[in-house]
């Protein structure tokens, strides 16, 4: 007598039936309009294909019809969590192209705003990761409480909380208002206490460890070959941080360390982000201590009728999500002939399938959460 309750068609067995699940784009864990076609054997992932493009507006084409400066506000919308680092990467590419120098004070302002961006991005990412894991709300709200303080600083500096549009070729748009640096100092001084609190609550949490350790492992070789950058790469144990390698801006003046992981799993990525926030606090302390008086923008740079000489440039910085690069070709006209964004979120997704194979469907959510993607940058 058969023991199966369900009558199977002749010749079929329970093991060879795969279930295809379309996760997203309206799935709450996909961090935006991102879709994955997943083939499941029971609960185990045997195939996964990422599908995107729902937010595609051809940012690069728009920028080719726009003046160099006109693209600056558009870069805010790429990775809308980190508009200031996007601004910096673009400004850096144009400055390399046109040979513009940046005054001291502007360099310090850039470092301060970029590191504040990194703080709020990493804090929120950990919050989102916990949310994906089922810790509904609480860790995320702790992170958002801190983020709010940083967004207030951005608002008083640039006028906008998220779409800051702050950097200009050869400097920054405005000088900080009176008292802004002291206010920033307060936020930075208080930040490690939040990190301690966060770590006490989470780092040795049994559920967190059980769900993240040994999940989504990326080997060192694969990470390098697949062009993974940012905290993901460093969690796999590769010491490659553009702040140390390229030393763009004035990063050679600060003493800070690059935290590295040795397992390359989700827990390592979580830990790397926490440690990076501590290092960012160190950089901020030094930058706030050393920031000089002076002009905040290079007065010689033309704002109107800005036409760089024909040529090309590739500028890249260490954005919170990885290497963000801008590749520009100028033909001497007021708008770029070619404008290319090297999106770290998109390229970090290359090995999503390799990370997920063999894991449960519930782990896919966590692995995706640990990559840290923003669809505005993936789709452009």
């Amino acid at each position: 007598m058969s023991t199966t309750a369900i009558a199977l068609p002749p010749g079929a067995s329970l093991t060879d039936n795969l279930l295809e699940v379309s996760m997203g784009p309206q799935h709450p864990s996909t961090h935006g309009v991102f879709r994955m076609d997943v083939a499941l054997d029971g609960e185990t992932v045997v195939k996964l294909k990422p599908i995107f493009g729902y937010l595609h507006r051809n940012h690069e084409k728009i920028a080719e019809d726009e003046t160099y400066l006109g693209s600056m506000p558009y870069t805010d919308r790429l990775d809308y969590f980190c508009s200031l680092t996007n601004n910096w990467a673009y400004a850096l590419a144009v400055e390399t192209l046109a040979g513009i120098t940046v005054p001291e004070r502007a360099e310090y302002l850039r470092v301060i705003t970029a590191e504040l961006t990194r703080l709020q991005n990493h804090a929120c990412l950990i919050g989102f990761l916990m949310q994906d894991m089922g810790a509904s709300g609480t860790p995320l709200m702790y992170a958002f409480r801190e983020r709010e303080k940083i967004l207030d600083l951005f608002e008083s500096l640039t006028g906008a909380r998220m779409m800051c549009n702050y950097m200009r070729f050869g400097g920054c748009r405005v000088d900080p208002p009176a008292g802004w640096l002291a206010q920033t100092q307060q936020v930075v001084d208080a930040f490690p206490r939040f990190l301690d609190e966060f770590e006490n609550l989470l780092s040795s949490n049994e559920i967190l460890m059980a769900r993240t350790q040994g999940i989504g492992i990326v080997s060192r070789e694969l990470a390098i070959n697949a062009g993974i950058t940012g905290p993901l790469l460093r969690a796999a144990g590769v010491n490659y941080d553009l702040r140390k390698v390229d030393k763009y801006g004035i990063y050679d003046r600060f003493s800070f360390r690059i935290p590295l992981g040795d397992h390359g799993d989700v827990y390592d990525r979580y830990m790397i982000r926490l440690l990076e926030m501590r290092e960012s606090c160190k950089i901020l302390q030094q930058a706030l201590r050393d920031i000089p008086e002076g002009p905040f923008t290079d007065p010689k740079t033309k704002i109107r009728n800005f036409r760089p000489k024909p040529g090309e440039a590739y500028g890249r910085i260490e954005a919170p999500k990885g290497e963000l690069g801008f590749y520009l070709i100028s033909d001497g006209s007021p708008n770029p002939y070619r404008y290319r964004v090297r999106p770290s979120s998109l390229i970090n997704l290359t090995i999503l399938e390799d990370m997920c194979l063999g894991h449960n469907i519930a782990d896919v959510v966590i692995i995706l959460g640990s990559i840290d993607i923003v669809m505005g940058e993936v789709d452009r």
């Binding site: 493009g53 595609h56 694969l222 070959n225 697949a226 062009g227 590749y327 070619r338 390229i347 290359t350």
Partner: protein, 177 residues
Amino acid sequence: MSPEHAFAVATFLRDQRGFDYCSNVTGVDWPVKEVSQKVKVKKLVDGVETEVEEVQKSLTGGYLEVVYHLYSMEQKTGPVILRMRTQDRAEGVHLPSLTPIWRSADFQEREIFDLYGVIFDGHPDLRRILMWDEFTDHPMRRDYVEPDDYEYEPTAHDEVLRKTEAHYANKFGDSAV
């Protein structure tokens, strides 16, 4: 870099020169463009040799270019920039894929295929990535023209409309529609 040797050159760079990290892959469109250049030429004018300025016209472009930015994570050096050009912009748009060497080129080559129409031979999974599968043109080309019915996407709408019209015509006669 000529496309025939691209794969060998790239393998050499990765294995012998340590360029293990391919950061950025992108396409550039260079349509045919007329360039005029002023050249001074010696000419016999009325039997006397004089220098005359002459405008020489030449055609450039007419190909798609793919650019690779390579870095070395071990030696912390770079970038080395590789460029490949297609024969033309219509039929001869085949280039060898470097995805088997650097996996980071995977999505980026798919994007170039999608937006520029370069066909990468040897790519494991060459499909459209940002535009939908039914889309036919390549929007990043310089001569791309937006379709008039930009918002149009194939739906069952027209079919439903025809059925409705037929239904009303049957029921109430032609005057009802």
